[in-house]
Amino acid sequence: MIVFDRVSVTYDDAPAPTLDTVSFVLPEGELCLVAGPTGSGKSTLLKCINGLVPHFTGGTMAGQAVVDGRSTRTHHPRDLVDVVGYVGQDPVAGFVSDSVEDELAYGMESLGISPPTMRKRVEETLDLLGLADVRHRPLATLSGGQQQRVAIGSVLTTHPRILVLDEPTSALDPLAAEEVLATMQRLVHDLGLTVILAEHRLERVVQYADQMLLVPGGGRRVRLGSPADLMRDSALAPPVVELGRAAGWSPLPLSVRDARRRAAGLRDALAGCVAPSHAPLAAAGRELASIRGLVVTYGATPALRDMTWRLDAGEIVAVMGRNGAGKSTLLKAMVGLVKPSSGTVRAGELDPARSRASQLIAAVGLVPQNPSDILYADSVGSECVLADADTHVSPGTAAGLLAELAPDISKSSHPGDLSEGQRLILALCIVMTAAPPLLLLDEPTRGLDYGAKRRLVEVLRRLVASGHGVALATHDVELVAEVASRVVVMAEGEIVADGPTPDILATSPAFAPQVAKILAPAAWLTVPDVVAALASRSAS
């Protein structure tokens, strides 16, 4: 179905090719997962399939990609609409109209399909993707999962035989992500579509994949194979695979279900051990922030209802909940970006909504969901200089912090050229320049690969060990299992659960990490915990 014959892609001004002689053949009806670190060329590879590379992006392409017998050399993306449906990273950016039905019909209108056929296909697609009850709604009012399904539907109506998706679940909470993935499986199983998708969070996707395309980057060879084969020695691996490797299972389990079947022995071996409590690293310290009776409303809709909460030095608190539960609003209220309708917020001694930004930054800092929002200089070095000036600290403070947390970031590079992970660390350094004791992060792992995430975990642990407090709003359960000492679950603007990480995560169907699901009912959360316990057992 998809044939890549020695495809190389070099963008203009790039020192090295992004893809280097990539060859593979993907048969029809497979769900293929493309995995690799950020910047390895996953998106480029996906764009080659429908001809966006090189027709749209520019650059030089050698070799050829053939899709369903048509070469992208001679066919533009618009000539491949009836073969390849392509959904980009941000579905909202690709919407051309404002309502669900019009969006679904757009591609067919371009093809000149007859109105009765269009009507029929729109209805079928609405049913197939479970969108019938939102068909008349404006796109802006849909949830993230619904928007993603509309984006998928909008390319399905032209009846392509291949569906290409670039990180379809990266912005979604775990349940919405499962919704989208279940849809995808249905397309593969019932309609015989070939689906090829890129994803960082392998734990969400790898068990559904028939084939896996590993794009290691750095000039190394792209490998196509079954996920079970590739996972044996891949540097990128979800927790279930790492647990399998640690326990020496063969073949490796890819899904929680497979692993549970094999885990009886492991559960027995761990029976005598006590799962670590993930208690705060430093002894619970002074109060850094407190919220009492906080109500925040947007227009008539309350985003936070009567919230009472506190945060101490030495703890990492994860704020979880579905999209729109009020997580971001809570963090914004703590730095005064939204004004409370009633109730009090205190960050240290300050009322965030009434303090000057330069005072507040000495008490609490927030890294926003999109780190680029606070970056505007033309080089990393001048970003650091400006951060020193903004916060009135001695010159070189920000640069020193950056050198300590991420020595590999060059001072002369443009912030726009950094990888997602590097940009996040840079934004974090700028916010931490004034050394606020409390650091807040909004959805920090969006678009981060496993390596970048590991580094973020290290950075956060170091901050906490030196007496800071951290709160992060996130959908990433594996990250939470690894770093958080306390978890707060929110729903509809209220706290529905607040307690130590193992108590909250281990029993939750939506938020349990893979290890907890495999080893339930014991409250193990991460692979390193299990490995350490096994090691100490065999030592004693």
Partner: protein, 385 residues
């Protein structure tokens, strides 16, 4: 005679064709352009508001009329300040207040600061401001009743590309504002207290970068969904289409100007408008032949659409007749007298309100109210902050 179709019934709930709403609103605006009589202007304003209340949907844009009313108030206030307080001309004899006057240098002739403020000047400024506000509120009514995007969807095939570009621009503008708000607040996170010049640069850079990135992504999405598959054709035909349409639109613009501005000689009006319409229509027909595109569920144009347009035109016609037969009623010569209202003008204004009964009720009242009842979505959060 043709049997009555379901879509011809004014009781059958469906959205009215957006073009009909816009024609009706433009006709109402044209009526308002004929009169500075404040009573008639207020009457038109009230009728447009009445129709909006009766026939608007629950979609986000349906609340536009209130915003336009506020804009109208600002226009009136600015007009009064500029004309009655700051202008040294056209003052009357009924003094409200005599402020101490600050002498201005010679180059500021025509301006004054302080001095006499008279009832005549204030009332004339008020009625002229009210006329402008009424015309703008008519546009507001069209905005509230019909989505601009839906209107652009029904542009003729020849103008398809232009329509898409306009739709994209319409979605981008609010997005840009939301981005600017988000980035501005994010700058606070750096501990930056603000300051005019630096603040501009700090906001502009990330916003522009974001907007550029998004347009590239949108273009990629449109390309990979088949946009532009229909454009291969002879260069000559394309030029002919463009020339006809452009010339026609120019003719329409000149013709409308001639019609609406009473001081221009008569034959610039209707004949030019007619010629312009013909040219544009010919261009659209020629251009429309080449497109192989189809339309998904186009809005029907049936009896209610004709009735709505007719009521607008009826209203405009009545006002035009009043303006030519009875200029004192249309443009009261003495601002302090109570303005007269003729029966014909009254009937005309009432005609303009008929769509409140003639147009079918919007279908999505129930479905859309479910949208509003839903708690804050992620998108809602971002826009609101």
């Amino acid at each position: 005679m043709r049997p009555m179709r379901t879509v011809d019934s004014p009781g059958y709930a469906r959205p009215l064709h957006p073009g009909a709403w816009w024609l009706w609103a433009i006709a109402l605006g044209a009526a308002a352009s004929r009169t500075t009589n404040p009573i008639l202007c207020l009457l038109i304003l009230a009728m447009a508001g009445f129709v909006v209340m009766a026939r608007r949907s629950r979609a986000p844009w349906a609340y536009a009329y209130g915003a336009f009313l506020k804009l109208g108030l600002i226009i009136i206030a600015v007009r009064i300040v500029l004309q009655a307080v700051l202008s040294s001309q056209s003052q009357g004899i009924h003094v409200i207040v005599d402020l101490p006057q600050i002498p201005l240098p010679a180059w500021a002739a025509g301006l004054k600061l302080g001095g006499l403020i008279t009832w005549e000047a204030v009332l004339i400024a008020f009625s002229q401001g009210l006329q402008l506000a009424t015309i703008i509120c008519c546009v507001g009514a069209a905005n509230a009743l019909a989505s601009a995007q839906r209107l652009l969807r029904s542009v003729p095939g020849a103008l398809y590309e232009v329509g898409v570009a306009a739709v994209v621009a319409l979605t981008f503008a609010p997005q840009l504002v939301a981005d600017a708000v988000r980035v501005r607040s994010a700058q606070r996170l750096r501990g930056y207290d603000g300051g005019r010049l630096g603040g501009m640069r700090r906001t502009a850079m990330p916003v522009l970068e974001g907007a550029l990135g998004r347009s590239v992504e949108l273009a990629a999405a449109m390309d990979s969904r088949g946009y532009g598959r229909t454009t291969e054709e002879a260069v000559g035909a394309r030029r002919l289409t463009a020339g006809l349409v452009f010339g026609g639109v120019l003719g329409v613009a000149v013709g409308l100007y001639g019609l609406l501005d009473a001081s221009v000689s008569g034959w610039l009006g209707l004949p030019m408008l007619g010629a312009g319409c013909l040219g544009a229509a010919a261009g659209l027909v020629v251009g429309g032949r080449r497109t192989r595109r189809t339309r998904y569920r186009p809005d029907p144009w049936a009896l209610p659409e004709w009735l709505v347009v007719a009521s607008g035109i009826g209203c405009a016609a009545a006002f035009f007749v009043v303006a030519s037969r009875d200029p004192a009623a249309a443009v009261p010569p003495y601002p302090l007298d109570i303005p007269q209202v003729t029966v014909l003008a009254l009937v005309g204004a009432l005609l303009g309100a008929l769509p409140a009964f003639l147009a079918p009720p919007p279908p999505d009242r129930r479905a859309a109210s479910a949208v509003n009842a839903e708690p804050a979505t992620a998108a809602g959060e971002e826009v609101a902050t």
